[in-house]
C-alpha cells in the first residue's frame, strides 16, 4: 500500500475543501486509510498517521481509534515517536478511558531514561493528565526527580508534583523533604515552579502553611534581589526583571502573611518598596503593582501601607488602559467592605466609570457604586444611578433596578424622595423590575400616610400616557383603588392638584382591563381597584356595577371568580360592602437582603365573611387590627404600631431591619399581589394565636436580666425560623414593692455588630405587689452570631422620686444568639 501522505499534504488538501461536506469526505477517506495502516502494524509511518489524526481531532472529528496507537508510539525507542505519542496521549486520552493505565509502565521507564528530553516528556504528560492511580504509582519517581540537579527536569518535576498533590492530597507529605532546597536555586524557572509548588501546598494544608512561614525572610530576599538587580537580559520583560516570578512570590507572601502578624511585619518593607519603585508605564509594572496591592490588603499590614494601596488603586482607575481600570474596580470591590472610607474617596471616579463604553467595566462600576452608597451620598449617587439606569444595556437593568430599590430602602432621606425614586425607576425600567418589587412598593406607600394623595396623583399621571409597563400599572391600580377618593377630591399639598373626575379614573382602569398588553395579574389588580372605588366614589357606582358584572363571564378564571364574588357583594351582601372595602391598615413586613418575603398581617375581618370573600384575592381589604384581637379572645398585647426608632443610641443606622410585627398576631404568609396562592389568612378556627415564629422558645431558657430595688426584669427569647440571625426578646417588668412605678421607660444598647429595635411597651405603669407587668418586645439582629450583650437603662418614678439605673446584661443563654 502506498506510503501514507504527510501531515502537510493532508492539511493542504483539507484547506482546498470549499464546503463542510467536502471536508468531511476528505477526512473520512483519510481516516479509512489511517485505520488500515494501523491494522497493518506499520512502524515506520505510525507517527505520521497519528500526527494526522491529531490534526483531525482538533477540527472536531472523532479520533478515538488512535488511542492505542499512541500507546505503541510511547513504547517505541525513537524520540520522534515518543514525542507524538505523548502529545496524542495528552490530547486523546483521559482518566475515563481504561487504556490510559497501560501508559503507567512506559512513563515509569521514561522517567528514568538517559535522555533528559524523554524524561521531560514523561513528566509533562503525567502532569497534564495523570489519573490518581497513576499518580500514586509514580509519585516516588517524581519525588526523586525533584531532587535532581538538572534544572530543566527539576522545574518540570515541581509542576508534576503539584498535579500529583491535586489528585492525591495524601501524598503531600512525601514531597516535603524535597522542598527544603528548592528556594536556593539560581535558575528562575526552577524558582518559579517551586514557588507554585509551595503555594499549592500552603493552600491545601494549614500545617504546611505554618511550616513554610519560616521561608518568608528568604522569599523577601529573593524579591529584593529581583528588584535591585538592575538589568538582566535573560529575564527582562519590558524593563522589569522577571515579573512573573515577582508576581508569584508576592502571591505566596500573601498566603503566608494572612492572619499572621510576624510574617506581615517582615513583609511590610519590601511591599512598600515594590509599591513605590515599580514603573507603571507598561502593563508589566501594573501587573506587579496590582499583585502588591492585593497582598497588602490581605495581610495584616499597617494602615499607612493600606492607604498607599488604595491610592494605587485610585491611580489605576484614572489610567487610560481599560484593563487596568477593570482590575482596579475588581479589587476595590473586594476591599470596600473593610476599608470603606478609603474607597469613598474615589467615589467620583468610580461613578464616572459608569459612563464607560466597555460592558465589563460598567458592570463592575455598577456593583461598586451600590456598595458605596451610604446615608451621606445617597442623593447624589441615586441621581447618577438613575441616569445610568436610563442609558444602560438591558442586561443591566434588572440588577440596577433591584440595587436602587435596596439602597433607597436603606438610606432614603425622606419618604417623598423615596417614592419619587421608585416612581422614576418604574417609569424608566418598568418592565425589567423584579416581581417582588411591587409588593414592597405597595407596602412602602401604605406606610407613608401623609404622602397618599401625592403618590396617587403622580401614579395616575404616570399611567395616563402609557400603561404598558406591568409593575407600574399594578402599583398604580392598587393605589388608585385605595386612594381614589383623595385623587378625585383634588387635595394634594405637595404638588399642584389636578382635576380628575370619577369617570376619568374609571376610564383609565377600564382601559387597563381591556388592553392586550396587560398581564392577567395586572387585570386582577385593576378589577379589584374598580371594586374598591365603589365605596370611595359616589356618582359612578352603577358604572362600576356594570363593569364588574361584565367580567363575571370572562374567560380568565381568575377574573371571573373575582367578578362573580364582587357581584355577590353588590347583590346579597351590600350591607357589608363598605366595611369590607375600607382603607387598608398599615402593613408590617419582614425585610431580608435580597428577595424579600413579605408577610402581611392584613387587618382581618370577622369570620362570618369568610365564605363570600374571594379567598384568592390577596388584597383583603379589612377592618382595623383591633377587630382581630377581639377575635383572639382578649390578648392584651397592643397592636403593632410601627415605632419610629425610639431605639437607642446603639441601634445602628436606620431601618435596616423592620421585623415582623408583634408575634402574637396571626397572619400566614400571604404575598400581597399574588392573587392565586394564598390561603385565607384566617387560621382562626382554633382561635389560638398562631405564633409566626415556630416556638423554639420552648428550648431557650429565660433569664432574669435585672433585679434590684424591687424591680425585676425577665427576658424570654424566641428565634425566627425564617431568619436565624433575628432574636426576639420579650421583657417582662414586675414590681414587688408596695407602690406603683410610673413613667417606666426601658432603654437598651447593644454592641456595634448588632442591631436593635424596640417596640412600644404595653404600658408605662408597673403595678405594685407583682399584680401586673409591663411587656415590651425587643428585636435583635445578629448577623455575625456573636455573643449577645446588652446594656440597659431604666428610668421610672417610684415613691415620689425619679429613679434611674444602668445595668449590663451578660447572661444571655447561648441558644439565643448562636
Amino acid at each position: 500500500m502506498p506510503a501514507p501522505i504527510r501531515l502537510r499534504e493532508l492539511i493542504r488538501t483539507i484547506r482546498t475543501a470549499r464546503t463542510q461536506a467536502e471536508e468531511r469526505e476528505m477526512i473520512q477517506k483519510e481516516c479509512a486509510a489511517i485505520r488500515s495502516s494501523f491494522r497493518e502494524e506499520d512502524n515506520t509511518y505510525r507517527c505520521r498517521n497519528v500526527a494526522k489524526l491529531l490534526y483531525m481531532h482538533m477540527l472536531g472529528y472523532p479520533a478515538h481509534f488512535g488511542q492505542l496507537e499512541c500507546l505503541k508510539l510511547i513504547a517505541s525507542q525513537k524520540f520522534t515517536d515518543k514525542r507524538i505519542g505523548y502529545l496524542g496521549a495528552m490530547l486523546l486520552l483521559d482518566e475515563r478511558q481504561d487504556v490510559h493505565l497501560l501508559m503507567t509502565n512506559c512513563i515509569k521507564n521514561d522517567l528514568n531514561h538517559s535522555t533528559q528530553y524523554v524524561q521531560g516528556l514523561a513528566l509533562c504528560t503525567l502532569g497534564c493528565m495523570g489519573s490518581s492511580e497513576m499518580c500514586r504509582d509514580l509519585a516516588g519517581e517524581v519525588e526523586k526527580l525533584l531532587k535532581t540537579s538538572n534544572s530543566y527536569l527539576r522545574k518540570k518535576a515541581a509542576l508534576c508534583a503539584v498535579h500529583v498533590i491535586r489528585k492525591v492530597p495524601e501524598l503531600m507529605e512525601m514531597f516535603l523533604p524535597a522542598t527544603k532546597n528548592l528556594l536556593n536555586e539560581k535558575n528562575h524557572g526552577v524558582l518559579h515552579t517551586s514557588v507554585v509548588l509551595l503555594t499549592e501546598m500552603c493552600e491545601r494544608s494549614p500545617d504546611m502553611l505554618a511550616h513554610f512561614r519560616k521561608l518568608v525572610p528568604q522569599l523577601v530576599r529573593i524579591l529584593k534581589n529581583l528588584i535591585m538587580s538592575g538589568y538582566s537580559p535573560e529575564h527582562d520583560v519590558s524593563g522589569i526583571s522577571d515579573p512573573f516570578l515577582q508576581v508569584r512570590i508576592l502571591r505566596l507572601l500573601r498566603i503566608l502573611g494572612r492572619n499572621d502578624d510576624d510574617s506581615s511585619e517582615a513583609m511590610n518593607d519590601i511591599l512598600a518598596q515594590v509599591a513605590t519603585n515599580t514603573e507603571t508605564s507598561k502593563n508589566v509594572g501594573n501587573a506587579i503593582l496590582y499583585e502588591t496591592v492585593l497582598t497588602i490588603m490581605d495581610i495584616k499590614s499597617e494602615s499607612g501601607l493600606r492607604v498607599l494601596a488604595i491610592n494605587i488603586l485610585g491611580r489605576f482607575l484614572l489610567n487610560n488602559d481599560k484593563n487596568i481600570r477593570y482590575v482596579a474596580l475588581t479589587s476595590l470591590l473586594k476591599t470596600v467592605q473593610t476599608d470603606h472610607n478609603a474607597v469613598q474617596r474615589h467615589r467620583s471616579t468610580i461613578v464616572d466609570c459608569l459612563k464607560d463604553l466597555d460592558v465589563s467595566i460598567k458592570r463592575r462600576a455598577m456593583e461598586l457604586s451600590f456598595a458605596l452608597v451610604n446615608g451621606n451620598n445617597v442623593r447624589g449617587m441615586m441621581k447618577e444611578l438613575l441616569y445610568f439606569l436610563d442609558s444602560c444595556e438591558p442586561e443591566f437593568k434588572a440588577d440596577c433596578a433591584s440595587g436602587i430599590f435596596l439602597a433607597a430602602e436603606k438610606y432614603a432621606p425622606s419618604k417623598r424622595w423615596h417614592i419619587d425614586t421608585i416612581m422614576r425607576v418604574l417609569t424608566t425600567a418598568g418592565s425589567y423590575v423584579r416581581d417582588d418589587a411591587v409588593p414592597n412598593l405597595i407596602q412602602l406607600i401604605t406606610n407613608s400616610v401623609e404622602m397618599h394623595a401625592y403618590t396617587v396623583q403622580r401614579l395616575y399621571k404616570a399611567i395616563l400616557g402609557d400603561y404598558s409597563q406591568q409593575p407600574l400599572v399594578q402599583v398604580a391600580s392598587w393605589c388608585i383603588g385605595e386612594y381614589g377618593d383623595l385623587l378625585v377630591s383634588g387635595q394634594c399639598e405637595e404638588e399642584e392638584p389636578i382635576q380628575v373626575t370619577e369617570d376619568e379614573v374609571l376610564d383609565i382602569l377600564e382601559s387597563v382591563l381591556i388592553s392586550n398588553m396587560s398581564a392577567s395579574v395586572t387585570r386582577g389588580y385593576a378589577l379589584t381597584a374598580i371594586m374598591k372605588l365603589s365605596t370611595r366614589f359616589t356618582c359612578t357606582v352603577n358604572r362600576i356595577k356594570k363593569v364588574v358584572s361584565i367580567y363575571g363571564s370572562s374567560i380568565d378564571v381568575e377574573l371571573q371568580q373575582r367578578a362573580v364574588e364582587y357581584n355577590a357583594l353588590f347583590k346579597k351582601y351590600d350591607h357589608m360592602r363598605p366595611a369590607l372595602l375600607e382603607r387598608m391598615p398599615v402593613m408590617e413586613k419582614v425585610t431580608t437582603n435580597g428577595p424579600t418575603e413579605i408577610v402581611q398581617t392584613n387587618g382581618e375581618t370577622e369570620t362570618a365573611v369568610l365564605e363570600t370573600k374571594p379567598p384568592h384575592s390577596g388584597l383583603q381589604p379589612g377592618s382595623q387590627a383591633n377587630d382581630l384581637l377581639d377575635l383572639l379572645g382578649g390578648n392584651d398585647i397592643t397592636p403593632v404600631i410601627p415605632t419610629a426608632p425610639t431605639s437607642k443610641p446603639a441601634s445602628a443606622g436606620g431601618e435596616l431591619l423592620d421585623l415582623l410585627g408583634d408575634l402574637n398576631l396571626t397572619g400566614s404568609p400571604v404575598s400581597a399581589p399574588a392573587p392565586q396562592i394564598s390561603q385565607p389568612p384566617f387560621l382562626l378556627d382554633g382561635l389560638s394565636s398562631q405564633p409566626l415564629f415556630n416556638d423554639i422558645a420552648a428550648g431557650i431558657p429565660s433569664i432574669t436580666a435585672y433585679n434590684k430595688n424591687g424591680l425585676k426584669i425577665d427576658f424570654s427569647f424566641e428565634r425566627s425560623n425564617t431568619n436565624p440571625s433575628v432574636t426576639v426578646i420579650t421583657i417582662q417588668a414586675s414590681n414587688s414593692t408596695e407602690l406603683d412605678m410610673t413613667d417606666f421607660v426601658f432603654q437598651a444598647a447593644v454592641p456595634k455588630t448588632f442591631q436593635l429595635q424596640l417596640l412600644s411597651p404595653s404600658s408605662s405603669v408597673i403595678p405594685a405587689f407583682n399584680s401586673g407587668t409591663i411587656t415590651q418586645v425587643i428585636k435583635v439582629l445578629n448577623p455575625q452570631k456573636q455573643q449577645l450583650r446588652m446594656r440597659i437603662k431604666l428610668t421610672y418614678n417610684h415613691k415620689g422620686s425619679a429613679m434611674q439605673d444602668l445595668a449590663e446584661v451578660n447572661n444571655f443563654p447561648p441558644q439565643s444568639w448562636q
Binding site: 492539511i11 500526527a51 520522534t80 509542576l159 508534576c160 524557572g189 501587573a287 481599560k322 484593563n323 466597555d358
Partner: protein, 193 residues
Amino acid sequence: MIKAILIFNNHGKPRLSKFYQRYSEDTQQQIIRETFHLVSKRDENVCNFLEGGLLIGGSDNKLIYRHYATLYFVFCVDSSESELGILDLIQVFVETLDKCFENVCELDLIFHVDKVHNILAEMVMGGMVLETNMNEIVTQIDAQNKLEKSEAGLAGAPARAVSAVKNMNLPEIPRNINIGDISIKVPNLPTFK
C-alpha cells in the same frame, strides 16, 4: 490554574486547542464555538477580560484574550491567576512562537500544529506556568528538534533522503563558458533522480 488555551482565527476555525481540564470532545468543540462568539463580539478598544461562557464554568472563570492580526489567543483561567500576568504570558508565548518560526503567521500555525503544541508544553504544564524565559524555551525546543532530526523526523527515513535529493536544485550548468577567447569545456555531469 489555566483551564484551557485556545487559538482560533477571525472566522472561528480552531488553530490550536489545549484543555487542562477534562471535557468530552463534543463539549470541547462547543466551548471553542462559544468562546469564539463571546470574543468576536468585543470591540477593539475594550478591556481584554471577559467572564467565561456557561460551558467553561461561568463567572468563576475568566477569558483573557489578545487579538493579533487574524488570530485570537484566548486563555481561560480561574480566579487564582493574575489577569494582568496572563496578558503578559500571552505576549511571551507569541514572541516565542515568533522566534521559533521566524515571523510567525497563521499559516505557520496551521501547518505546524504539533510544533506549536511542543512549544506550549515547554511553557505551560498541567495548567500552570512552567517557564517564561523566552530564550530558555527556544533553546530547549531547538535541542529537542535536533534530537528528532537525528532520528530522521516525522516523515520516516527513506522518504526524507529521497525527497532531499529530489529537491536539490542542481542548476543548469552551462556546457560552454565563453569568456572571450578562453573556452572552457565542462564535462557532462551525471544527473541524479
